[in-house]
Symmetry: C2
Subunit: 159 residues, 2 copies
Amino acid sequence: MPFGTKADESSPSTPAPGSGAGVGKEQRVTKQRLAISAALDELDDFVSTQELYRILQNQGVSVSLATAYRILQSLADDGLVDVLRNGEGEAVYRRCAVTGHHHHLLCRSCGKAVEVEAPAVETWAARTAKDHGYTEVAHTVEIFGLCPGCTARKAAGLL
Amino acid sequence: MPFGTKADESSPSTPAPGSGAGVGKEQRVTKQRLAISAALDELDDFVSTQELYRILQNQGVSVSLATAYRILQSLADDGLVDVLRNGEGEAVYRRCAVTGHHHHLLCRSCGKAVEVEAPAVETWAARTAKDHGYTEVAHTVEIFGLCPGCTARKAAGLL
DNA sequence: TTCACTGCAAATGCTTTGCAGCGCC
DNA sequence: GGCGCTGCAAAGCATTTGCAGTGAA
């Protein structure tokens, strides 16, 4: 099974926390989980697990690296944060303001991200897949570039 | 170049053997390089370095894993093969029939790939980036799904 | 009290690199 | 014959996992 296994980004059914009617996997509210969640709230950009770990350390919050991996993965599984792979294949996380299906415009220099919607792309993807007989389609669309700030910085020779 | 170039700060300290003028990096035609190139020619789908390494071994071709990594990277740098990251963040390679900029439609079950062009997406990406003041834009667009064959197989309960 | 969560450290698995010998030009 | 290319093995890294102690419910 080559790839794509979890290339899907659709998460139509939120586990509905609270009323443990379904899955039943309850999460305990711990200091570490809150710390990571809070850190993500303050961050506007995507961060890798390693980066988040360092950030927490600088804040004086003590969280084990392994735990950071576990919590981030857990949050991602629950759809509480967005995950995507940067150019190096590292998993990066971010709490997104926009809910539902959307894509990103990332600065390759500073990591700044902007959420964008792409209705035209959605239809194109669906149509293309259909034309080729593909079903159960999912897709990834990410745009990389230099944000206004970094563009200016580069023009000024500071980059 | 389908991907966001090298997002990292490259390696400015490259010793640049010889004169820094022009490309200068000549490639020697070796048995291993030919073997890998040939293997890629026969493959219709994306393969990771590890997979290609195993394929070569099964064919009785002896190529070191480290060499496979080096050659694949070299081919990718020269634009002779396409590189992209699968859902797991692994780098996967493929010799593409279509030259120039294009995207892929991949089967998440068997790995079968189809090249597709997306003029509408190109313009959308360029326009979106411009609207947000981003420059030097690159983008990734990949579609994952079940190819006709796998769809049928699944419908027949064989998957 | 109970059991999920943590931390620590060892383990994994992919990828890169140092170095000496080999083979293409 | 020179120098890039290979192979081998060790090194490097990010990420995962086993296990026992800790703390939330």
